[in-house]
Symmetry: C2
Subunit: 688 residues, 2 copies
Amino acid sequence: MSPALPGHLVPMHCHSSGEEFDTQGSGLARVNPDLASERLTASFCVPSLTAVLDGGAERTRVRRAVVDVIESDPVFSRENQYFQSQNERYEAAVRKAVHLRKKMQDMGWSEDGPESVYIYRALSGDVAFLLHRVFMRSISVLGSDKQVAKWIPLATEHRLIGSYAQTELGHGTYLQGLETTAVFDISTQEFILNTPTISAMKWWPGDMGRSATHTVVFAQLYIHGKCYGVHPFIVQIRSLQDHSPCPGVIAGDIGPKMNFEHIDNGYLMLKNVRIPRENMLNKFCEVQPDGTYIRHGSQQINYFTMTSLRISLIADEVILPLMKACTIAIRYSVVRRQSKLKPGEEEAKILDYQTQQEKLLPQLAAAYAFHFINNYLHELFNKGYKEIQGRNFALLPELHALSSGFKAMISQYCTSGVDICLRACGGHGYSLLSGLPSLYTKILASCIYEGENTILLLQTARFLIKCFTAARAGQPVPPSVTYLAAMKPRKCPAKDKLDFLSPDIYTEAYQHAAIRLISSTAAKLQDLIQSGAERHEAWNQCTVQLVQAAKAHCHYITVKNFVETVEKLENTAGIQNIMKHLCDLFALHGIFSNAGIFLHDGYITGAQMDMVTASYLDLLGIIRKDAVPLVDAFDFTDKNLNSALGSYDGQVYQRLYEWAQKAPTNKQISPAYEKYLKPLLHNKLSKL
Amino acid sequence: MSPALPGHLVPMHCHSSGEEFDTQGSGLARVNPDLASERLTASFCVPSLTAVLDGGAERTRVRRAVVDVIESDPVFSRENQYFQSQNERYEAAVRKAVHLRKKMQDMGWSEDGPESVYIYRALSGDVAFLLHRVFMRSISVLGSDKQVAKWIPLATEHRLIGSYAQTELGHGTYLQGLETTAVFDISTQEFILNTPTISAMKWWPGDMGRSATHTVVFAQLYIHGKCYGVHPFIVQIRSLQDHSPCPGVIAGDIGPKMNFEHIDNGYLMLKNVRIPRENMLNKFCEVQPDGTYIRHGSQQINYFTMTSLRISLIADEVILPLMKACTIAIRYSVVRRQSKLKPGEEEAKILDYQTQQEKLLPQLAAAYAFHFINNYLHELFNKGYKEIQGRNFALLPELHALSSGFKAMISQYCTSGVDICLRACGGHGYSLLSGLPSLYTKILASCIYEGENTILLLQTARFLIKCFTAARAGQPVPPSVTYLAAMKPRKCPAKDKLDFLSPDIYTEAYQHAAIRLISSTAAKLQDLIQSGAERHEAWNQCTVQLVQAAKAHCHYITVKNFVETVEKLENTAGIQNIMKHLCDLFALHGIFSNAGIFLHDGYITGAQMDMVTASYLDLLGIIRKDAVPLVDAFDFTDKNLNSALGSYDGQVYQRLYEWAQKAPTNKQISPAYEKYLKPLLHNKLSKL
């Protein structure tokens, strides 16, 4: 079968290297022979797998077209990104955002067209005004028709830049605790906004530090001295004439972060800032001129907005970075040769060491597993959205629980996966030029934003405990948790290591483990309460185990979904076979790495765990052969990877050297020489 | 008992905050009341524990004196570090290095005086010329008396700056594979050095990118066309008149890295660079004028140098960063309040949530465990050094195995611990101003440098397998592995959860697990070889399990040493009690988190694992009460922590706000406004 390299991936800017010592580069596009040879023996057709991942060849075509347009425009270049300061990154990101609007108009791409999902991806997220979009979305969802009609056109045309000011210095996850106040003044028909304490300062909102002219501020609404809880208000914070802060507004940038240098995360203090009554977003609740507070319709849709946000970030912010890290680390690991496997032979490719396979290949399998579970979550979400449009909110609790748990579980898993890829590349992985450090420092944030992971897992756990109790009482439960009602066999039936390549065997094991953890924690909770503990204290004493249970549930659903996805694949082009191997690897890696969970009640015995280990290690050797084609199928361009180690041609050392020469540290003689070194070193003799 | 706050820790530069909204600061040193209250209930005397950690009150005094001198000198300030570019960091580090030499002269501190160990620590490693010191050490160890007499005085006086060029672009861990050549030219009595391929370029050496005038180059020695292996040569790379590269030398900086911005890690290419015959370091081997190659004495001392380097970095580069991260995260976790534990009550300190305790307190226990194992390793090393001076090399294999395994195990554990601390601080942990991101990005490198961890663990495993075979054959083995000879009971005797607070019970469990993993892997290796696999291939197929076995061994020794240390402590000032709790926590956390290893053969049953879990979770609540005093005892100054979240006074929000205002992003109007935003936003009306 032909590995059929996608034409647009062949980089034209790379240089020959090989035996000859050539620091100038010949301009030839030559693939490192160690990498090239990996592509000759693929057991499956790479473009076919790419099409499966994209959801069809037509979408592959659209994606590549978007990528081509973005990457051929120098404004969107990320070439010198690793050398830029926070100020430079911000300036470039604003330039890109402004240019992007023009580009989309020129290309006829609309916000909801087929191209839209690929634009941000092609930019690697390196663009400003993302919170401006959240500003717009919040007005669309929470604003009245009149508010939408006033603000959305202005925002669309970039005649104002918006932000979304929810988080405060002292409050993130616990929204009820927000301290900013909005007091209604009947006499002037205005709200008076204030930041009453330092911890009430808005802190972290993107686009707010330097760009935004407006923002949606979440504040405690007071009317006649009575608090009505947190509500959203549109507040102008900077002048449209000269961008200076509005009266009573103190705003700025929160300074350097581990990544997101291109975003001006900001702070905001408000001192008696007055806004008209019309600036409270009032689709769901309204303050009338006489101070009467009225609530319209359901607020459950807000709940759904959070859910949709969590699901929407998983693909681009979490799974793609892991796919990129795998691509970089696996390509590098067949170019890098170090030490000898067999005395007297050539040095070995490091991917031929079992320990290196054991680091990287499970991450590769996880990237596929999460890609497929993400599809599952999106389907579920779309179904839920239709129901909600028909005013049926029955799916919400399950959707909320799944979106919370999966956002947490996948972001934690993928963050750890990127970290493993980085370390597996040794010293060169530690260079920013490898692309791995910035992937890591960025994906790490996904464990924290849009709900801190532990809190999210506990929300899932609360749902699971509730469903478990209901299921055991014979009451109906949502589809994803019906398994909790089942009473299953108490022992794994596997007899030899090949049995563990049976999806039924390992899926049952995951299901059993999830049920055991949920039921034993439910029992502990019950015991504590029956022994007299207060409910909240009993809950707190179970939270370590509740987190374990929620993870086990998500892990189980992921394995089950991978199995079902593989079953549905057609076995043309060798796709189903290789996906089956990856599915097995993902499942057995999970059992191998969390052995205690499966051994605890003897469901899997020690002898069976040895079989798991044997099958798991065997799979590493099998998938090793297809490792490079499996990352090629992700179809990242060199520009998108932006990695000296991970390029398609594998000219690792040449590229590291070329890129290093462009570093600012090589562009100037450091003042340190004249000031500190010369007085010590200077010698009439140049040589000792 | 009085918690007796060490006076020099009370910061004089902090500001009041509290209820009143005060952005100016009153200049009063007021400790956040939530943090202050934590210090009133300590179960032990903090200064006494500090003295234990320092190895005596006198050493505490010396350490604090060094810290005071360094921190009161503005040249050594790290105040704006988080805002500086790579160029600025480098310049500051060179300035500090030059100033430090003068300071040490002024203070009468010698390189081997009692102060020396604390200087680098007080600087937080933020200083240049560390590789200059390795350059000097390598000449001292590998050079003849004549070479030492020539080069050491020049280097000591900073009349040259040295570096140490071993690693190449294509070779790190596998030194035999180095490609740089040094060919002896009899006619001129010179060595001709060359970089024959791009992968042969020296890459990574510190101080080489911009500072060094000289370096020790490791190259394959050729005489009359015959290769004699890798040897060290002193090579001048830059002019002493104007710092320009010497003829045939191409050198520069390798560009941005994940951390170490202050260090000019460099690259070096050599094209027919000639150096005199006298520049080969020739204490152990020499090339005579006629080309005769002579080897003197033993080279085993080199082996010892690597060992000593690995042990020496553990304290400052690995354990201290974890201690700092714990200090920051734990202090922040009693200041930060979020959500409610009990309905109707005040929001809870986040350290009162079980999940937060379970993240942070095991890291705290690990910091203590590793502090004590580091003492053990140093004692062993000092003993070994004495033996070696007496030409007895018998201890070397054990020392090598221990230093490799512990460097790997501790660096991996502590890196993961710092990561956990960072994430446990939520969004604010992600700000560079928290100090946590730079601790993480720096400690991560310790998993890679001085031997990549997986390779080091496999070296330990090789030693263990050898000793296991010897022990089972009744042959003598080194002291740390005599336990491998023992045949132990096959079941853990614990009957209830309190039994797991018995050090005998858990130490036995660790010992049993280590023996099982080593013996089962030895058996698998044997099986594979007997089934006809070649030795090297059989080894490769066992490496995943060998790594597990090596870690289990190091974990066991760490637990055993913690237990023995606690037993030796006097129980005055409540020290022994609290250390016993930490020791229990460290041990039970390890069993809880690696349950599979202990459950595998039924040594610990599922029911017993539930007892472990119960005791483990109980301990969290006990240690929670002393968490703040336990980090106070590490005795870091605010300047040393350099963290807006971790200062002694707990004025977290105030400090975040003050520091953010100093960021360069707030010091200029971005050109982005004039260029990109103004054309869009400008409006005759300043307000919408």
